[in-house]
């Protein structure tokens, strides 16, 4: 039996086959329009607004690197990982979305090294896999640097 595909955390991005494509999902306050990611469904955080109604919105899938780092050592649980497999560091990006101008963190696609990155570099949102074993595939988002043409940088 094929392992089941489940979002690593529910409700933060579109599901497979969504007509909007792969997008992060936030919410907008129905009264004042304030935008929240991760989604806020209970209370508007604007101190001047008492609204409790929110509309789901898909966020723009492009932005620029605000900052970046990597994780050289395995994080503690609940980070899902195979304890028996050798740890492979991954790059972690904070990306300012082009339209919404909020900064959203995310792992880079596997294999990206910090040496290749720069603050201000354009990146694109892509679906990714956080963890995979015999029973389950935990899905997430990754940031894919829009690499300059090879050899020209």
């Amino acid at each position: 039996m094929a392992p089941t595909r489940t979002p690593a955390v529910a409700g933060l991005f579109t599901e497979d086959g969504d007509p909007r494509g792969f997008r992060l999902l936030g919410t907008r306050c129905a009264a004042c329009g304030a935008l929240f990611f991760p989604r806020e469904d209970d209370f508007c955080r604007d101190p001047g607004c008492t609204s409790t109604e929110f509309i789901e919105v898909a966020l723009s899938p492009r932005g620029r690197i605000w900052s970046y780092t990597d994780c050289r050592y395995p994080p503690p649980p609940p980070y899902p990982r195979d304890q028996d497999r050798e740890w492979e560091p991954y790059a972690l990006l904070a990306v300012e979305l082009k339209e919404e101008r909020i900064v959203v963190m995310g792992q880079a696609v596997p294999g990206v090294r910090t040496e290749e990155l720069e603050v201000g570099m354009p990146v694109e949102l892509v679906p990714g896999v956080l963890h995979e074993d015999a029973d389950r595939v935990l899905t997430t988002w990754h940031w894919q640097p829009e690499r300059a043409t090879e050899g020209t940088r």
């Binding site: 690593a8 955390v9 529910a10 409700g11 933060l12 304030a34 935008l35 929240f36 990611f37 991760p38 955080r45 604007d46 101190p47 605000w66 900052s67 970046y68 780092t69 990597d70 994780c71 050289r72 050592y73 395995p74 994080p75 503690p76 649980p77 609940p78 980070y79 899902p80 991954y90 972690l92 904070a94 919404e100 101008r101 909020i102 900064v103 959203v104 963190m105 995310g106 792992q107 910090t114 720069e118 603050v119 201000g120 956080l130 997430t140």
Partner: protein, 393 residues
Amino acid sequence: MTGEIAVLGAAMHPWGKWGQSFVRYGVAAARSALADAGLAWDAVQSVVGAGSVRCGYPGYVAGSTFARAMGLNATRVTTVYAACASGSQAIAAARDQILAGDCEVALVIGAESAPKGFFAPNAGERPDDPDWVRFRLLGATNPAYFALYARRRMALYGDTVDDFAQVKVKNAAAGAQNPNARYPKAVDASEVAASAVVADPLRLLDICATSDGAAALVLTSLDFARRHGADKPVRIRAVSTRTPAYPRSDLDFPDIATDADGAGATAFRAQLAQAAYEQAGLGPDDVDTAEVYDLSTALELDWYEALGLAAEGEGAKLLRAGDTALGGRIPVNPSGGLASFGEAVPAQAIAQVCELTWQLRGQAGGRQVPGARTGITANQGLFGHGSSVVAVR
């Protein structure tokens, strides 16, 4: 100005990895602080404990845990938890009680017995908890956030990893003079460069450890201090413990995103300092020394700017000029900072005020800032907690 209180006693249990109960450290620091004040336990009318979430139920009710260990004496008792700002919120609670006339003598205690390794969230499947989400989805430990801030400084202001290493060198040199420090030993830049990268661009020696330790203060009304014969005590003039203001410009851990339209808003760290200065009726030019929360070396430079000691982007310039080293114009972290102590969460903000107390009394020995009359502390932790305390003499 809302009024001043006196610091009559200050003490610590040395930081380390001692493997004992936090209660032992806390009581040791409390008894030393009482001795420093020249007061007996029965003079204490209120015990305020800074809570710990890493020591089980006794940590959640730290105030009563310490009161019981000292010998239950029908004192008023309070426990506050506010992540890294727990200690300063404990000081704020004691100050409020004193200024309201509810008590004249309060004993503030913070102590920690820290686990090994990265701090991790509570167990269970908890998608509503941002602290759980950041570990689950991103494996984003605290050092990962420090590294994002550090890289941002490099890109925006031209700071270098050598600048960051120099913060460690500076703080270790001060910590070498501090008997309460966990690492009382000088470090040179090559040792920082030789330590392993934890989160690019930060290395192991750029990032503060987690420690056991305790700090305690005996706080009293100015009237009581005078009657007790303390003519010129160190006084706490401001305690700022405000929340951030919406929208937040900071990528503030444990959140994985900022608020929309936050760009350009005053950063939380600067908001904390501004509130403290305002309360104290002082400004950055009045400050002789500062104790700031150097969770990472790079973060210390952010604090220079937040406290108004340097203009935005010019923190490293202050460091390179030697202004913030012992012997400089405005020594920062004369205690050695978190670089020399490692973080003992509930005790740390209290320890910062202990250091100011010794500096303002002229009792800081080899790390004394000559003629220090005004000091400020600053700290920040998870979930929008932070604080800044101004002490004068």
